[in-house]
Symmetry: C2
Subunit: 120 residues, 2 copies
Amino acid sequence: MHLHHPTNSELDLPSVLHALSDPQRLRIVRQLADRAGPCACSSFGLDVTKSTLTHHFRVLREAGVVSQEIVGTSKLNTLRRADIDARFPGLLDAVLVGTAPSGDHGPAFGAPLTQPAAQA
Amino acid sequence: MHLHHPTNSELDLPSVLHALSDPQRLRIVRQLADRAGPCACSSFGLDVTKSTLTHHFRVLREAGVVSQEIVGTSKLNTLRRADIDARFPGLLDAVLVGTAPSGDHGPAFGAPLTQPAAQA
DNA sequence: CAAATAGTTCGCCGACTATCGTACAATTAG
DNA sequence: CTAATTGTACGATAGTCGGCGAACTATTTG
């Protein structure tokens, strides 16, 4: 099953900005940038259910912000940094700077990397 | 009547990105950047009604992207470039580069860049 | 096989969005 | 005073969005 990823030249500025305009997705992108390696969807400590998580990752992928690869039962996410930089130079850096932990209500994503619901 | 403008430190990244994630508003911002001077709402050649225009300018103002000043029957809009640059360095430049006329259906109204008010 | 793990899919909800049209207000020009 | 110009306010409408839960698929592991 091939997940659809927009090509480099298909990247659309309004779509990318929209993908980045949600706080949850912004947290995902910042963590992805910090970690600089593929991460499973469930490893971001977001306080939303799995289905909502699926939704956000699809928005990010369809806008071309992340790429996803299925490995086992996981879907590994990678920031498409080079592609976005090539098409919209400086955009990602600016967004990441503007999302710096200082001014952010940090979710302190050190502890609860588990789903809020769906377990007991 | 004082229009509400968020202060510099009230600028919120998701809100700004959301304001910029609409094609019409992106056109407004690009033109504002090109002209580098206050312009009335109706001088952007957008193919939407006046009420829709009012809506878009309100979104831009409430996100802190533009400032508005009432002069006569007009409302003059200015890009809050310095404020945005201070809070989110590089963001506006990146967005403006990514909005270059190449990929846009250029409005091509090179003529009426005149300010309706303030002179005659 | 059975259980656990990781995501997906679907339907639903409430809230918001972009758009319109009509009616209105305020200022400027004749 | 009477237009004309510029924008606002107020619905209304069709659509999107973020969120949930429940049921499902697929893979890995005991």
